[in-house]
Symmetry: D3
Subunit: 282 residues, 6 copies
C-alpha cells in the first residue's frame, strides 16, 4: 500500500504553490488583544469547519474549482514578542508578492494587517486600503503601545497617507478618532453605503482589502474579541464583496474571528464563507 | 388519592387521538447527517421547551385551543439501519392518513421527509410539495448513498415528477444541482419571494409542506447540522406560513433542529413557534 | 504607598453621589421568573463587561464624560421573600428621588419595575409609562400570584390608570391580555412604529421608561428568561431611544438580562450599550 | 389505529399508582437559592436523560423491574410564594403516606425537604434523618429569612429535635453552625466515615434520607448552585447507599441538581444513577 | 519561495508510511450510537489538540521520537450505510497488516472495533482481546440490530470464541449480559484489578487492545456518548497501559470520544494522552 | 441619603491598606501563553465568584475575619509589551514589601511569578521557592523567547540558584527539562509526597510559594491553558497548604486559572478556595 501524509487545507484551496495565483496563509497572533483573546485559533478551526462548505457560490455564480489557490498553513510565532511576529509576517508576505502571487491572510487579531499592508505597499506605492470594521482603529496608541490592534489603521496611515483609506461599518471608537478620521480617511459610519463611490474614486489603482469580521452584527458573528451590536448583516457583506470584485485587489485579509466564544459554530461558518467569497472575488 | 402517569405533549396538543384532526409525531433519526448530528434530540426537547410558549398566536390571531391536535410521541427506531427507519415512518404516516387525519412530523434530519411524502402521495397522486430550505437537497447521491439528507428532494422528485416541487430560500448546493433544478423544480434562490405565485399555481391541489429550519438565518437558528449564513428572518418565515394558510395542506413536517448546538435555547424556541404557527395554519 | 479599596462601577459612571444627576443601581431579583431564572446576575456582569465599551456614543454623538452618573452598586435582597424585596426597592428609589436625582435601575426580572414606578409616581401623579417588551405583562395574576413578572404592567396600571401606558414590541401573551390592552393601554404589536405619536401625546409630562430587553430579537439578545423570536433589531432600539430623548424622563430601568444563557456575551454587550444610550438620552 | 397520549416517566418507574410501593415526584422549586438558581429544571431533565441508564444495577445486583415505582410527574408551583409551595409539597407527601406508599422526591433546592420531612414526621414521631450534604444548612436564618435552603436542616431540627439528624460530607458553613452541630446533631466532616455507627444507633427506627447532591465532589457533580470542591466520590456515594439499605427508610429525596450549569450532562447522569440506586435500596 | 501543502498529523506521528512500524488512522463513524452521537469528530479534533501535548512521557520515560509512527488521516465514509463502512475499515486494516505494520485506530464509536479485530484475526488465529470499557457490549442485538456499538464485543466473540476476551472496568449492562459474560469472557467489574493475571495467562500470544474511553470516570472524561459515573481514574488507565506493555500487541484502538460534549477540552486531552501512551507501549 | 462608590473585593479581604498584613493584587497578563489564553480574566472573576464562599475554613478551622487582608484590585497593563508588564509587577511588589506587608498575587499566566519573586528576592537573599505545577517550566527558551510561561522557573533559578526550588506535582515537560531538574532543583514527579522533607530542609528561611493551579487534576480544574490529566486532587492540595503553614512565607501567588474554559464555574470555585486557604495559612 502507498500512503501520503495527511494534508489539511481550506476546502477547495488545494493547488500546489507554483501553479497558484492566490496564496492563503494563517497568522495566529492575538498578543495585543485588549478584551477577549483567542483569534489565534481562527485559521486552523476555519480549515476544519470549511468542510461544511460547498465550493460553489450562488452569490457570485462561481466555483473554487475555477481559481488556483494554495493554502500555506499557519506561520509559527514566538509568543509574547510582538515585533518579531510582525517582521515574520512582513517577510513572508513579501516573498509571496515577489513570486507574483496575491497574499490572502487569515488572522489573528487586526494588528497582523500592518506588516501585510507594508509588504504590499513596498511594491505598490499608490496603494489604497478598503477597511471593513466596527472600530476606527485609529488610536495614536493604546495604553502607551503604538503597535496595537486598536491603532493598526493609524499605523497604516503613517505610510499610505491621507485619503487613501476607506473605512466602512464603523460604529465604535473615541470621539477624537472620529474627528481625526474626518481629515485623514474616508469614514462611513454604521454601514457600507459609500462603497460605490469609493470604487469609482479608486479606479484601477492597487487595493488592499482588510475585513475585520466584527463589522458584522454579533447576531451573526458573536465569536470575536469585542462585541459591538448594530453591525451590518451577512447579506450586506456579500453585497460589498460582490461590488469590490471590479477592483484591482493585490492583497487581502480576514481577521478577528475568535472561535471559542461562539460554541454554535456560526461565527466560524460566516468567516469561512466570507473568505470563500473574497477569494472568488479577487 | 388517584393519580395518572405523567403525560408529556407539546403545549396545547392535548387532545385524544380519536377526536383530533392533526396528528403530530417525532421521527428522531439523524443517521445520514453528514456534518453535525443531533437532530434526534429535537422532538423531545421541543416538547420540553414548548412550555415557554403561549398557545395564542398574535401573528394569526388564533389559539391552539381552537384546533384538535394529538401528540403521539416519538417513533422508536433501530440505530444504523436507514431503510428500516424509513419503512417505519412510511407505515405510521399511512395509518394516520387512513384515519383521515393530517400527519405533522417533527424531525430528525431531512431524509425522514421521504417516507412521509411517499405515504401522503400514496393517497394524493396530484401532490405538490412546498420545500423551505437552505440547501437544494437535489444530489443524485451523496458519497454513493442514494438515501441521504442531501438527496431527499431528488428522491421525492423521483415519484412526484417535474414542476411539482417549489423550493424557497435555497442558498447552498453544487452547481449541477442548481442547473438540474432549472429543469425539474421551481427554485427560489435566497428568499421566499415567489410564494404568492406558487400559491396561485397550486390552487386547491393537495400540498405537502416540508420546512427544513436551516432556511432561517443562523443568527436566529444556529442549532442545526450545517450552518448557512444568509438565510431568511423569523418574520419572513411567519409571513410565508401566513400565506400558505389558504392551501390544501395534507401533510407537513419541521426538520433539522439539532438543539445541542445552540445552548441558548433560541433555535428550539424558534422551532416550537414555527411548529405552532404551522399547525394553526393547517 | 497609599492605596484605596478596589472600586467597581459601570464604565463612565464614576461620579460621587452628591454631584450626580442620575443614580444607577442594581436590583438582582428573579424570584417570580416562571421559565429560566438568572437575571439576578445581570447588574454585576454588566459592570464587568462594560469595560469593553467606549464612553462615546456615535449614535447620539455624546460622551458619558458629559453627564454626571453615580453607580450605587446592587441592593442586597433576602431570597424567597418577594414583598420584602419590593419594599426595599421602593424605599431606595424614593430616597434617590428625594435627593432630586433620577433613578435608573438595572434588573433583575421585570417585577422590580413595580416598586420603582410606584416610588416615582409618589412624586409625579401625572406619570406616563413607556414600556418596551415582547410580552404584554398584563395578567391579572400568574398561577394565583398577583405579584409576578407576568403581571407587572397590570399592577402598574392599578395606580397610573387608563391610557397612561404605551407598550411597544409586544408579540406574546394570552388572548385576553391583548383584548384588555385595547381598552386600558396603548399597545403596539411587534414594533415601535407608534413611538412618535406617543411622544407627541405625552409632551412634557413626566415619563418612566422601562425596557424589558426581550423586546429585542433573540438573534441579538438570547440571554433572557423566555425567548420570543420575531423581536425588534438593535438599531430599532437605538432609534427608539434617540427619539424619546426629548421626553421628560424622571425614572427608567433596563431589565431581564439573564447573562448565563448567552455564553458568547452578546446579550450582555447589548444590555450595556442600551444602558449607556438610555443614560445619555436622559 | 389506536394511540395513547405520550407518557413520560423516569426509566423503569412505569407502574400504576395503585400497585406501587414507592411514589416518585418532582418539586421544581428554587425560590430561596442564594447563588445560582436552576434546580427547578432537575426533575424533567432527569426523566429525559434517564433513558441513557440501564434498569439493572451491578452495584446492588438488582433491577428496577423488581420494584414497583410510580412516577407522578412534577408538582406545579406558583412562583415567588415560598410558603404556598411548601404547603403544596407537605399536603401531597401526606396523601402518599396516607396510601401507605413511600415518597421519594426529586428537588428542586434543599428547602423542599422541609415539608416532606414534616409530612413523614406527622406519621412517624420517632423519625431519624440521614443528611448527605456539603453544607451544614443549620443557619438560624439567611439574610433574615427563616425559610431558606441554608437553614432547612435547622428547621427540621425544630421538630425532630436533638441527636436525631446524622450529617455526612459537610465541608462548608459558618463557624457557629459547626459549633451548634456539636450539641444538636451528629455531624461528620468531609466524608461518610461514621455511617456504620449511625446505622447501628438508628436500628429499625423510621428514617428519612435526604441527599443534597452537592455532597459529591464538583469534579463529578459541577451542576449545582454552590460549588464546594473537596467532596466525596461517586463510589463513596454508592457505598453509602449500599449500607443504608438495611434501614427502615420511610421517605427520601434527591435535591440540588441544577442541570444547566453542566453542559456535559455528567451531573444529570450522576443524579439519575443516585436516584436509581436509592430507589433500589429502599 | 518553495512551499509544501499544509500537513496535519497527530503530534510526533510524523514518519513516512514506508519507514513506520505503527500506522494510526481515524474511523469517524457514529452511525449506531444510541444516545449522544458525535464520535465522528474525535480523530480530527485529537490531531488538532495534540499540539498541547509533549512528545515525552514521564510515565513510561519514553519519547515519541523513539518510535516510528505514520498518521494516515481519516477514512472517508458514506453516511447511513453501516455495512459498507465496516467493510472499508476491514480492508484498510488488512492492507496495513499485509505491510507488516501495526494498526492503531482512532474511533468513532465502538462498532468500528469489529472489522479491525476481524482483520487482525485473519492473520492471528490465536488472538486475545483486551477490552477496557464501562459497558459489557455483549448484547445479542440492540433494538433488532446485530451490528451495534452495544453488541460489538459479542460480535467479536462470534469468531474469537470463549475465554479469549478480557473485559475491564465494566459497570453497566443488562443483567443477562453479565450472566453471559460469566461463561464466555473474563469480566472484571468496576476496575482493572485482574490485569496482571490476564497478562500472565496471555503470555506471548497476539493481543488486540480496544480502549473504550468511557471506562474512565466522567469526572475526567465527560465527552462521550453515554455517561457512566463510577469509572476508573486517569492514573488507573496509565497504570494498566504500563502493565500491558509486555504483551505482544498486534492491533489496538481508542474509541468513543465525543468531543463536542466537553467544551473544556479535558476529554480530548485525555484521549490524546491515552493514545500517546498506548503507542509508546506497543 | 449618603452613598459611597461600589467597592469590589475578594470576600473577606476588606481591610484598609494601612492596617493589613497581606496585600492581594491581580496581574491579569497572558501574553506568552502558548496554548489557550484567558488567564487575564481570572482575578476579576475570582472576586465575583468569591461571594459563593464562606469566610470560615473547616480545613484550617480559621476564619478570614481573623486576618488582615487588603485587596488592591488589578494592575492595568499595556497589551503586547511583555517587558513593561514585568517591570510594573516588580515595582508594585517591591512597594508592598517596603511597607512590610506580604504580597499575594493572583495571575494571570505563570510568567508573572518572575518579577514577583525577583522583588521578594531583592529583600530576602536566602529565598527558597516552593513550586506547585503540572509542568517543569524549566525551558531555556520557548520558540526563541527567554521570557515565557514555559521557562519561568528556569528564569527564577537564574538568581536563586541550585537546590533552592522545590517542585511538586510535575507530570509534563521535555526530557531535557527533567534531566536538568535532577541537578538544579528538587523535583517531585506526579505528587507532593516530598513536601514534609522540604519543610524540614527549609526550616525558618524565607519562602515564596507559587501555585500553578494546573497541578490539580483537570477533573477538578479544567479551566486552564494546557490541560494535563493525572494531577493531584483538591484534598491533596488542601493537605499541602495545611503543611506549609509552618513555613516563613514572605510572598505567594496563585496562577493559571483561565475561567472561560470551564463554564460550570468549578475551576473558579477551586481557585477561590485555594486562595482563601493560602491566605489563611500565611
Amino acid at each position: 500500500m502507498k500512503l501520503c501524509k495527511n494534508v489539511f487545507t481550506f476546502i477547495g484551496f488545494d493547488n500546489e504553490y507554483e501553479e497558484s495565483d492566490i496564496v492563503v496563509f494563517g497568522s495566529p497572533f492575538d498578543g495585543t488583544t485588549s478584551f477577549r483573546p483567542g483569534t489565534r485559533f481562527a485559521p486552523s478551526i476555519m480549515r476544519n469547519e470549511s468542510y461544511g462548505l460547498e465550493t460553489y457560490s450562488p452569490y457570485l455564480d462561481r466555483d473554487l474549482e475555477e481559481v488556483k489557490v494554495f493554502d500555506a498553513g499557519d506561520l509559527e510565532f514566538p509568543f509574547g514578542n510582538t515585533e518579531k511576529v510582525l517582521n515574520m509576517i512582513e517577510k513572508f508576505t513579501k516573498d509571496i508578492i515577489k513570486d507574483d502571487k496575491i497574499p490572502v491572510m487569515i488572522g489573528g487579531e487586526h494588528l497582523v494587517t500592518l506588516p501585510a499592508v507594508r509588504a504590499v505597499y513596498d511594491k505598490y506605492k499608490e496603494l489604497y486600503v478598503i477597511h471593513f470594521d466596527a472600530h476606527t482603529d485609529l488610536r495614536e496608541d493604546y495604553l502607551g503601545e503604538k503597535l496595537s490592534h486598536a491603532s493598526v489603521i493609524r499605523r497604516v496611515w503613517d505610510f499610505v497617507g491621507d485619503k487613501r483609506i476607506y473605512q466602512f461599518g464603523i460604529r465604535s471608537g473615541e470621539k477624537y478618532e472620529f474627528d481625526w478620521a474626518n481629515e485623514h480617511t474616508i469614514l462611513n459610519k454604521f454601514n457600507c453605503n459609500g462603497i460605490e463611490e469609493a470604487i469609482k474614486e479608486i479606479g484601477d489603482k492597487p487595493v488592499y482589502v482588510t475585513i475585520d469580521l466584527d463589522i458584522l452584527d454579533p447576531s451573526i458573528f458573536p465569536g470575536t474579541g469585542t462585541i459591538e451590536p448594530g453591525g451590518i448583516s451577512f447579506n450586506d457583506m456579500m453585497e460589498a464583496i460582490r461590488k469590490i470584485k471590479v477592483l484591482n485587489i493585490v492583497g487581502a485579509d480576514v481577521v478577528e474571528l475568535s472561535p471559542h466564544y461562539d460554541a454554535s459554530g456560526t461565527s466560524t461558518a460566516v468567516a469561512c464563507k466570507v473568505l470563500r467569497e473574497l477569494v472568488l472575488a479577487i
